[in-house]
């Protein structure tokens, strides 16, 4: 294979290329596409919810369908949209930021993506096969055990499969950062986005297995008549809540830490200043992650764990405010004294600060256990977590997409449309969720299919629905922007933003081997150092030589397909044992793929030095 293989090819070849790719940049495209698709799906579900709540006692959706809608909105947005979109950005950028040519396990990287995708598709198949899960994204037992039909079965299997994919992604990033940093790229010189990728991966690694276990118990209870949550046989439903939140709380940090990292990079780039208090930022990230494992029971203040447990978890939760506060002030200090450029990427970052501060503030308010007796499971909580997940994670994803779009796709997104989308989204977002704080305290619990007339909740809900539609408009503008950019967008130079980190030292989009010669890092913000103190470009750490590249493979796709089929088998073997054949066929396929993978030696191939020399600089 030669470098000149990037000519125009037919659609079949294009598709095959993406199905078999192990290149982290192409897998990033896949994640962004898959995550983006589910983001739109989750958004449409959100609009259905808001239409139902536009007026009191509305009958736009039936009660059962409404519960399916809220369950799928939450599950889709968290597992299938926000997380994969971040995994996409991490895949695209993190290896470039540490000067690596790929991730540690390219094959696993591809497998992780396909497992996520097939898991997501499996979950969404439920819409067409008798109804989606309807026990909430938290799927509390015993409601989830009693839920009729196969909805919750799709939930357990779909999340199990996509969760396995995410776990692989996490391990992959961890090893990549440990072993594949370029010469001179010490841990304390890594860009903040790489740091948060690392810490997020640790969270994924230690949080997801708890969900795995919870899902197994739920699956066994529903499909094989075990008694974990069956009170009559001594079961205990609170176990599910513990397992779910031992996973679930770190999960929210999985969703926010990458955003913290990329905002740090963006603030520093567009303020033309080094990140203020880099060391403090790194340790604050680690501390947040650590505390993130100590606070799960603050989701359970009303469960009846007793005043001792409630007090301990309340204080532990409040403590998280300290490292988070450090971060906010360090970002402000980074801008202070800088030379601030405001473009659409920076706008999302700037919009994040007040939005996330509000979300963090209500977070501390929720930590006060006795106050939480009032907030818990009301629209106050809905408002809170949308302020952090939309105001933090979604703003982060959108900032990241605008910031790295040139690097990932070689073109710059249209500024005018970018700014329009930002302002409309910001207004819509605040309109939707700010009022919900008050709705909650005025007596509106969350997950209410209808609210009654004459309870003082009408106006607030109407405003909220109007805001949701504004957010929808902003997303449509973003889509138009992406299409416009693909057709007529401005071609991006290697370093469009006067960047500071290694990804801006190579062409946009990067060649498939990333760095012709591994760069030598001389400090934090290596490219900036070379630009201001060196000769303007990176010094290579090695002479030009052959580059070793991994082989592409279709096995990850087939393996994931196998698990997908086995998932259907598990779900339907309850109705008819013939479906067990699908279980065996699916898992058998996956195992055979695994065996092929282990028995065959994969040595990869080499790009010859002569070919690299022929490439223009």
């Amino acid at each position: 294979m030669s470098i000149a293989a990037t000519q125009k090819r037919g659609f079949g070849a294009f598709l095959w290329d993406y199905l078999t790719t192990v290149d982290h940049k192409k897998i990033a495209h896949l994640y962004l596409f898959g995550g983006g698709f589910f983001f739109l799906l989750g958004g449409i579900e959100a609009l259905f919810i808001r239409i139902q709540l536009i007026k009191p006692e509305n009958d736009f959706l039936s009660a059962g369908l409404y519960n399916e809608m809220i369950t799928m909105h939450g599950t889709t947005m968290i597992f299938l949209a926000a997380m994969p979109l971040f995994l996409g950005l991490m895949n695209a950028i993190m290896p470039l930021q540490i000067g690596a040519r790929d991730v540690a396990f390219p094959f696993l990287n591809s497998l992780g993506f396909w497992l996520f995708m097939f898991g997501g598709i499996l979950l969404n198949c439920s819409w067409f096969l008798g109804g989606a899960p309807d026990a909430g994204w938290t799927s509390y037992a015993p409601l989830s055990i009693q839920s009729p039909g196969h909805g919750v079965d799709f939930y357990t299997l779909g999340l199990q499969i996509s969760g396995a994919g995410t776990l692989m992604g996490g391990i992959n990033f961890l090893v990549t950062i440990v072993t594949m940093r370029a010469p001179g790229m010490t841990y304390m010189r890594m860009p903040l986005f790489t740091w948060t990728t690392f810490v997020t991966s640790v969270l994924i690694l230690f949080a997801f297995p708890a969900l795995t276990v919870g899902l197994f118990l739920l699956m066994f209870d529903r499909m094989f008549d075990s008694a974990f949550f069956d009170v009559a046989l001594g079961g205990n439903t609170v176990i599910w809540q513990h397992l779910f939140w031992i996973f679930g709380h770190p999960e929210v940090y999985i969703l926010i830490l990458p955003a913290f990292g990329l905002f740090s990079d963006i603030f520093s780039t567009f303020s033309k200043k080094r990140l203020f208090g880099y060391t403090a930022m790194v340790f604050a990230t680690i501390l947040i992650a650590f505390l993130g494992f100590m606070v799960w029971a603050h989701h359970m203040f009303t469960v009846g764990l007793g005043p001792v447990a409630n007090s301990i978890f309340a204080i532990a939760t409040m403590a998280i405010a300290v490292p988070t506060g450090i971060k906010i002030f360090n970002w402000l200090a980074t801008m202070w004294g800088g030379s601030i450029t405001i473009n659409s990427a920076m706008l999302w970052a700037l919009g994040f600060i007040p939005s996330f501060t509000i979300g963090g503030m209500t977070g501390v308010m929720l930590a006060s256990a006795v106050a939480d007796y009032q907030y818990h499971d009301t629209y106050f909580v809905v408002a809170h977590f949308h302020y952090v997940i939309v105001g933090g994670s979604v703003f982060g994803i959108l900032a990241g997409i605008h910031y790295w779009y040139p690097k990932m796709f070689g073109r710059i997104l249209h500024e005018g449309m970018g700014k329009a989308a930002f302002w409309i989204f910001l207004i819509g977002f605040n309109l939707t969720f700010f009022i919900q704080h008050f709705l909650g305290l005025m007596g509106m619990p969350r997950r209410y299919w209808v609210f009654l007339e004459d309870q003082g909740l009408d106006t607030g809900n109407l405003i909220s629905t109007i805001g949701a539609f504004l957010m929808g408009v902003a997303v449509i503008i973003l889509l138009i922007n992406i299409i416009y950019t693909a057709v007529k967008g401005e071609k991006a130079p290697a370093d469009p933003w006067d960047g500071r980190t290694l990804e801006w030292a190579i062409p946009s989009p990067p060649p498939f081997y990333n760095f012709k010669q591994t760069p030598l890092t001389r400090g934090l913000d290596p490219l900036w150092i070379e630009k201001t103190e060196g000769k303007g470009k990176m010094t290579p750490a090695e002479p030009l030589g052959d580059i070793h590249m991994p082989d592409g493979s279709i096995l990850p796709f087939i393996m994931s397909l196998g698990f997908f089929v086995a998932g259907f088998g598990f779900i339907y073997q309850v109705d008819h044992s013939a479906w067990l054949l699908a279980v065996f066929a699916g898992i058998g396929t996956a195992l055979i793929c695994m065996l092929i993978r282990s028995l065959k030696d994969y040595h990869g191939y080499h790009i010859k030095k002569e070919d690299l020399e022929r490439e223009a600089d």
Binding site: F206, P209, G234, G235, Y605
Partner: protein
């Protein structure tokens, strides 16, 4: 361009499992994976501890467990961990034949353990009518111990695939990390069993 990583004793590095970048990646990757596995088993242990007295009128742990069999199983698995250490010792000395021999003994002991476990489960089901569906305790017991058993099965398959695949080609820098990561995994299974022995069987029999 194909790489022949075959080794002669003279060029054998000190730590063949970490001599290449791929090997190093596998080494760290497996350690991280075991970190995740620890949480997985911790969750199963937590569930078991919460439900171990929820027998719903069915057999209790004191009725069921016999420490003799469990002691034999423990010895089998602990010894197999030791034999895998010998195998790794021979790997570092580049003595492929001895490594394969010790690994074969490891596999043999692992299968012995598995046989005992199957016998144990069958015994509970036939003698006591104690199943996965009897009570919350039953579900928790079979799930925890069964997941461990599943890990043993997977480990054995992994080991046998490795030994068969490499029987004729000897040790090299490409497969040394594979052997080494297997041995790490096998130790982990052993450690989990020590906890099961203590938490499930000893605490179940004594108090």
């Amino acid at each position: 361009m194909s790489h022949d990583h075959s080794l002669s004793p003279e060029v054998m590095p000190q730590e063949p499992e970490k001599a290449t970048l791929e090997g190093k990646n596998k080494f760290f990757g497996l350690w991280f994976f075991l970190g995740g596995e620890t949480v997985l088993f911790a969750s199963f242990f937590g569930t078991y501890l919460a439900l171990r007295n929820s027998t719903a009128g069915g057999p209790t742990s004191t009725d069921l467990f016999g420490l003799e069999l469990v002691f034999i199983m423990t010895m089998l698995l602990l010894t197999s961990s030791l034999t895998s250490v010998y195998a790794m010792y021979h790997m570092k000395n580049n003595d492929f034949k001895k490594m394969q021999l010790w690994l074969a003994i490891t596999a043999f002991l692992g299968m012995g353990f598995l046989g005992c476990e199957i016998y144990e489960f069958a015994h509970y089901i036939h003698e006591f009518g104690f199943t996965f569906r009897s009570s919350a305790f039953g579900s928790a017991f079979y799930t925890l111990v069964g997941f461990h058993g599943g890990h043993v099965v997977f480990g054995l398959s992994w080991l046998i695939a490795l030994m068969v695949r490499n029987a004729k080609r000897g040790l090299n820098l490409y497969n040394a990390p594979k052997y080494y990561t297997f041995s790490l995994y096998w130790h982990f299974i052993d450690v989990v069993w020590v906890f099961i022995f203590t938490v499930v069987y000893l605490m179940g029999k004594v108090g």
